[in-house]
């Protein structure tokens, strides 16, 4: 699903965010990407979304080869991935329904498909009753759930979440993570970048820890802190 082969990313200002990184994530997995600020965590996510391009190495996401991809094909890559951001990124002048439907409109989906799929996915996140409200009328947790619904409406094989609980309180964060787990159970590959220690520890999924641009640890059922580390 995601394959990073010897990937290096050097920004224009000279910073090397990733150094010769090899990461392989298979279909159906649930993976946490953790690391301090500057570890290369956000760069990893940006490269996966093709917001940035790798300086060296090959990246494969959901069957797309990113380095060879032309600019005009990037939208198609992004449509095949569901993306959730820390700041929700909902369109403020559209209702909840319209926000989720928008993801289908850009693929020129038929009205009847939209009318069927949007309520389904809103029900999944528990917001079908608030379909006609505007983002500003919702709490942070509700907005993130709308964002999640939007990410899912095109039934992507891969869902990536960049600090999805960053702006949320612990209880709401946990609800979001439970939703993500449910989505993963249904077959979607889920990759979450986070520095929320409690969530990582509670869920015990595969953990990939980045530090200074290299993979420090890659552990199934991992915790936030490496248990084998001697301090």
């Amino acid at each position: 699903m995601i394959k990073f082969k010897n990937v290096t990313k050097r920004y224009d200002n000279g910073t090397v965010a990733l150094k010769n990184v090899d990461i392989s994530i298979e279909k159906g997995e649930f993976v946490f990407i953790i690391g301090a600020s500057g570890s290369g965590k956000s760069t990893f996510m940006k490269l996966t979304m093709r917001e940035e391009v790798a300086t060296k190495g090959e990246i494969y996401v959901n069957g797309y080869q990113l380095s060879a991809m032309s600019r005009k094909n990037v939208p198609y890559l992004r449509r095949s991935i569901g993306i959730v951001f820390q700041d929700f990124r909902l369109l403020p002048e559209k209702t909840v329904y319209e926000n989720v439907a928008f993801a289908m409109r850009i693929t020129e989906a038929q009205s009847k498909d939209i009318k069927r799929q949007v309520p389904t996915v809103l029900t999944l996140v528990g917001l079908n009753k608030k379909a006609n409200m505007y983002p500003r009328q919702l709490s942070g947790g509700e907005q993130q759930r709308v964002a999640l619904a939007r990410a899912l409406v095109n039934k992507p094989a891969l869902l990536i979440a960049d600090e999805p609980t960053g702006n949320l309180d612990p209880d709401t964060s946990w609800e979001i993570m439970k939703l993500l787990e449910e989505i993963n159970q249904r077959g979607t590959t889920v990759v979450v970048a986070t520095h929320d220690k409690s969530i990582v520890d509670r869920m015990k999924k595969r953990v990939i820890e980045l530090d200074n641009g290299v993979v420090l640890r890659d552990q199934e059922k991992g915790l936030y802190e490496d248990e084998n580390k001697n301090y």
Partner: protein, 297 residues
Amino acid sequence: MKIRTTKYILKEGLINSYRNILMSLASVSIVAATLIIFGVFFLLIANFNYNLNIVKSQPEMVAYCEVDLDGASIAKVEQELLKNEKIESFIKVSKEEYYQNLKKMFKDDADLLKGMEDRMPISYIIKVKDLTQSKEVKTELEKIKGISSVNYSQDIINILTKVSHWMKIISAILTIVLLIVCMLIIANTIRITVYARRREINIMKYIGATDWFIRWPFIVEGAIISIVGALIAFAVVAYGYSVLSGGINSDISKSSNMFYLLRIDEVALRILGVYLLIGVTVGVLGSAMSLRKHLNV
């Protein structure tokens, strides 16, 4: 692009225009004002050319008798014409004939001429032997008792043609300048709109909207602004002109001056067509210009 997407984009463009209604209206007014100025020039030239062509189609020299001349005086006039050696020949135009010609010129407004048949003059179309002597012939004829005026068209034609030429040049320049102004106004409006919505545009990119999907609503917005401006300009110009031409044409027939303002329905379609064409072009070009520069999609 499918039809459903086209409908969606048109709806988005419309909704977005409405969201910034004040700014949109400001731009609409400027487009309307510009097109009104353009329209005034257009009408001036159209009328000018129409009348110029009439003058051109008239015989070179016409001598008008005073109205209500009796038979004896008319005979005296004709004698004088025969005596003049510079005149090659002359043709008499009866009152009825003259009246018919005037009616043809006034076309549908001919009923303004009602009751004027008796006030038509007898006229003579003069053919001069040597054209260079035209001015002298005119002076001589004007001295004849019974002749009220002599029209010598070539002079007028020359002057009017020059005026027409300059009018066209000045209008063309002014029009181009005004249209550029329109395009810049729209481009600026769109630029501000794009800037105001940059967060949304960014979000749309990350959900996977293609560049064109993001661009089209802005182009629609630009086109709406200029089309609405064009329609307003048309309404103002059409109404103003129909009032004006109606008034002037009836005044003209009272003073028997040979000048006619085209009626509004003769020019309306032309003006509307030109306005809409300009409107759409300016709107689309203005937006596209701005998008290219400011929209990094």
